[in-house]
Amino acid sequence: MDSATGIKQHHVAHHFSSSAQEFEAAKLGTLVFLVTEVLFFGGLFVGYAILRMMYPAMFVEAASHLSWQLGLLNTIFLITSAFTMIMSVRSAQLNKRQACFYFLLITFLLAACFMGVKAIEYAQKFEHGLLPAMWFSGEGVAETLPLFFGLYFAMTGLHGIHIIVGMGLLIWLMIRTRRGEFYSGYFTPLEMVGLYWHVVDLVWIFLFPLLYLIR
């Protein structure tokens, strides 16, 4: 470690010929993983499309049970967190270790805010009995309303799990940033977690209007 800058030099793994090759391999692997994530969520989106085609009126009624205000607030949290994630990568590229750490911390806090709002929303749904399948005990005109809430909990739940995983990764990145492991010559984990975070953001860009803004 360089005692003046606090930077810990990265050593390229023995099976790579250069740091460029190492970075490219990591990116390739991450993108392949993200394709599987797109398809993973894709199954739920196809389910959504089928049910929405079959019961369009029910979806309009169901959306009225969701708060678009809370949905929009979460959208703002997530989009802003995607920006702070990019800023953390940029800070590492500029050798600004402190800034990198704080941007990661802000990203983590925004993700926590997102989960907090989600918890409030879930609590409201539980309170009103707006739950999937046989657990449904809410009030509604459409008989098929439990189908929507099955989708709602599956889609937002799976997305929420991804946020929690992302928060875990952010903690890991913050620890490594504190140790001085990221600098202009090496920031691969930051970049890859960033890509993951943007896909989680991308999924929410679709989820929010499809669930909350049905008319």
Binding site: V12, S19, L31, L34, L39, F45, T75, I76, F83, I205
Partner: protein, 134 residues
């Protein structure tokens, strides 16, 4: 060996700040626009505009947040292949759901290859067939 590693030019690219800030502002504005539009009844245009905004937001996210604007073609192709397969999945499923009960104008009966399949009679014969196949 280590010094040799450091000499290799790195493919690292820093996304210009104006693009990231611009994308952040655009995404926030588009999200709010989507909410505002959903408050008005525009008939069929509600869903058309909504999907238009979603697609613009998704494109901005991929281009400037994920950095695909400056990414290698191979990487972009690979990531977008996920969406191609999703499109195949979605289009075939929806075409089935949409036309499952459509009527054949020549035969005056519902379409469907199901009609060509002779259903197995319930009970004994079915179990016999199963035994034979074993």
């Amino acid at each position: 060996m280590q010094t040799q590693h450091e000499e290799v030019p790195h493919p690292h690219f820093m996304i210009p700040l104006k693009y990231t800030v611009g994308t952040l502002i655009s995404l926030l504005v588009l999200a709010v626009t989507n909410v505002i539009i959903s408050q008005f009844d525009l008939g069929i245009y509600n869903i058309v505009i909504m999907f238009g905004i979603i697609l613009v937001m998704a494109t901005l996210d991929m281009l400037f947040f994920m950095g695909f604007r400056w990414e290698r073609g191979f990487h972009i192709m690979m990531f977008l292949s996920g969406f191609v397969f999703l499109f195949i999945f979605l289009s075939f499923t929806l075409s089935d759901i949409m036309y499952r009960n459509a009527t054949d104008p020549y035969k005056m009966q519902p379409y469907g290859i199901k009609n060509l399949v002779k259903p197995l009679p319930a009970g004994g014969e079915h179990s016999e067939r199963t035994e034979h196949s074993e």
